[in-house]
Amino acid sequence: MTLASNGISIERWTRSSRLALGGVALALALFAIAPLTLGAGAIDRMTALFIYVILAAMWNALAGFGGLVSVGQQVFFGLGAYFTIRLADTGLNPFLALFAAAIITGAISLPLSFFMLRLKGGEFAIGMWVISALTHMLVNLDRLIQGETGTSLISLNVYDINTRRVVIYWLALASMAALLGILFALLRSRAGAAIQAIRDNEDAATSLGVRVVATKRLLFVLAAFGIAIAGALWLATATTFQPKTYFSVQWTAYMIFMVLIGGIGKFEGAILGAVLFFVIETFFGAMGVWYLIGLGATAVLFSLFLPQGLWGEIERRFDLRLLPVGYRVKLPGPPKIQWNQ
């Protein structure tokens, strides 16, 4: 956009980012038709990847952009799955139940935010973990769940296994695309600038007119909603619901891992991190405890040597911005020298 007055323009897209957007559209189109050629196992793995991308993007938005570091985000993952079970039990179509459950979870996160967003820094992080542990216990009290024995999303069984697999794949793909789109639009909006300002200095943001709590709340609720969709989709692929696997802190640990290695506070970073995590899991996931130790070691190495994550490094080295949320000022410089006259 060029400002009328003085030839200064504000750039929000670069040529490489336009290309990247085209690339993203193409990739999504290819993913959409991929089930025609993929085997059953591959379809399930890709579904998992889409869910990882959602998780990483949401935690990154919360912590990397908003400064809201939480180690209790598994509460929304668990609630997304739990409400899906509950709603399906009332006879609601299980696929509809997935999204209804996410909406309910998002709605619950709103009153929760009134308490949690009063907490700062580490208190918020640990507070979320406490909320998650409490919620886990409450869910266990529900007769339908049968404690840690758990239950299944049996109503999915009316669908043929192959149809089911592909439908869940598409739902995961569509959810990922929609949630990334919403996040990207949010972070590029004025609210997105405010979110980052709050992360960097809450006092300064307030004194410049930013409504801090309302802005944080928007982000908190969106992240709860997105993570709930991820939990509900995970339930759809796994069909069994055992509270302790869903309310496990392991999910938040994965989110943190993906964001740290990909690049915290970079929109592309979370996506790259999810892909890296997916690849690592695919090759080493069967190694049990050594796999977990390897993940931990990788995270430590990254935070020591590549604190900006892999994407941060790429961005720095090549001055590359594929999905930029910021602003560049272009001053009207002297005309460029033409070499090829």
Binding site: Q196, A205, T206, S207, L208, G209, G265, Y327, L331
Partner: protein, 251 residues
């Protein structure tokens, strides 16, 4: 003591503070402060370190609630309003220790201010940012990430951000410390331009000769009180003020 006649009646005060008390624990930092000013006044505040100048500014801007007292601005009682709402109604402050949004560029820092002060279109916000950056001499560093700026630019950034909120009244806290003569006269020119635009100024500064080029009224604080208030040269010559500067607190 009251030196001169700049005091307005409560009717025409644009910003006024009545009976402001502020304690930090047992320490009384603001002790029954009364203060008022008109819309386009330019007021300087001086006083020894720890006098309570920054605390007064913070109370006026809404960074915290005073333990007692009332603040009105632009015809409204704003005592219970948050800093964000006070900013939106035209009262903005800068910070003595700059508080940049360190992960964002200079432009983005100012854009936050321009797009949240009140409802503006995006293009209008852009224009405001460019105007503020130009006025504060920061266009050249518009794309620099704020954590790479030196202290001088950080202070300019405080001013540019505050200006981009379209304030009616600006509360400035030591934006001129450590400047060369050239930089100081640039700053004075900038502040005079703000005055020309009709923005009221309250400016805390230790370097009195800079302040005197802008302020038409001077307040001296010491130990949480206003000890002199009036025509700048008369205030500087006041016996209590001289004593406060020479001999620590004058109880």
């Amino acid at each position: 003591m009251q030196i001169a006649t700049h005091q307005q009646g409560p009717g025409d005060a644009f910003l006024s503070a009545r009976g402001i008390h502020k304690r930090f624990g047992a320490l009384v930092v603001l002790d029954n402060i009364d203060f008022s000013m008109g819309q386009s006044d330019a007021i300087g505040i001086v006083g020894p370190n720890g006098a309570g100048k920054t605390t007064l500014l913070s109370a006026l801007a809404g960074a915290f609630a005073p333990n007692a007292g009332t603040i009105t601005f632009d015809g409204r009682n704003v005592t219970a309003l948050s800093a964000a709402e006070r900013c939106r109604s035209g009262l903005v402050r800068t910070h003595q220790v700059p508080k940049p949004f360190s992960g964002m560029t200079t432009f983005e820092n100012v854009f936050v201010a321009a797009s949240h002060g009140d409802s503006v279109s995006r293009d209008e916000a852009y224009e405001r940012v460019i105007d503020s950056l130009t006025l504060c001499g920061m266009l050249g560093v518009a794309n620099r990430q704020a954590d790479t700026l030196g202290l001088l630019d950080r202070k300019r950034l405080e001013l540019a951000r505050a200006l981009a909120t379209r304030p009616k009244l600006m509360l400035l806290d030591e934006i001129g410390g450590g400047l060369t003569d050239g930089e100081a006269s640039e700053l004075v020119a900038t502040i005079l331009e703000l005055r020309r635009r009709g923005i009221g100024i309250v400016w805390i500064e230790h370097i009195v000769h800079i302040l005197l080029q802008v302020a038409e009224r001077l307040i001296c604080m010491d130990a949480g009180r206003i000890i002199a208030d009036g025509e700048p040269r008369a205030v500087m010559a006041d016996a209590g003020v001289v004593k406060a500067y020479l001999g620590g607190t004058s109880a």
